[in-house]
């Protein structure tokens, strides 16, 4: 395993991690924004159910966020605890 292959492994790994984070968090951010927008609109329309909406809003946001967290988890594992690193002696 030469240093050329180590370099290629590092470069490809970094590029993949960068692309994964971008695509993984893009849709999540857009959809969370839409959920929050609708929630605020309806809380202003009907103040009597505003407390119930607020209670569910946090839970739904955490559920949506968990998808982005899955992507972040894979990226962190690839960067810091890469299972293929010991093939190259890294």
């Amino acid at each position: 395993m030469g240093s050329d292959q180590i370099l290629q492994f590092s470069i490809v790994s970094t590029i993949v991690v960068g692309a994964a984070i971008v695509f993984g968090t893009l849709t999540v951010a857009i959809m969370e924004g839409r959920v929050i927008m609708k929630a605020f609109d309806n809380m202003a329309r009907q103040p009597s159910v505003a407390d119930r909406i607020r209670g569910l809003l946090f839970v739904v946001i955490a559920l949506l966020e968990s998808t982005a967290i899955y992507v972040l988890l894979i990226c962190l594992i690839l960067l810091f605890a890469n299972p293929f690193a010991n093939v190259f002696g890294l």
Partner: protein, 231 residues
Amino acid sequence: MGISGVFPQSVFTILGFTITNTVVHTWVIVAVLVGLGIWANKRFKVWEPESWQLLIEYLIEYVDNLVKDQCGRSVPEIVPYLTVMITFIAISNLAGLFPLMQAPTRDINTTVALSLVSLLSTQYFGIRRRGVGGWLHSYIEPNPVMLPMNLLGMFSRVLSMALRLFGNVISGEVISAVFFMLVPLLSPIPMNLLGMLTSVLQALVFTVLTLVFILDAMGPEPADDQPVAAT
């Protein structure tokens, strides 16, 4: 040790089992919670309660309101279990704020264990409410064709709850470690503030999901077929 210090390290081995520092931290948290519980149990008062008793009662009432929001009525048999779950997960996630302690939920083993306990609890409450026959019947509930989907659903719930909790905690720790490496002065303050928010929120989400699955396994009450009166 660098950034890999946030991942669990082995402390010692007993009989071939590796004891990581996650297990030691969990023992400390369990000892503290059980000790507080025993201490508080002797000092409960019906009249003129002290402020910490009101805090505990507020927590139990909060969990009871969570149950009522989901199914319209109070289910007292699951409230103690859910209260312990939310307290343990919240304290575990916040344990990183105390000196010499780290969050045991930053280990995938802890979160998978919690999710498996959740899964077993849904089966337990389902059997307790509906009997073994009713519980087995619930797997072919809409249609016998749904049997593999129901089994796969159970497996995917465990996986998603474990990964959600683990991912939130470990990503907070790794990002804190990276920030600390870059900016050692005062950088733990905003990271810990964000960590406190996500800790309690993830405990709440875990508990709400467990609650929904338990209520789903317990099945509909006969009174649920009646229309609910407007509140």
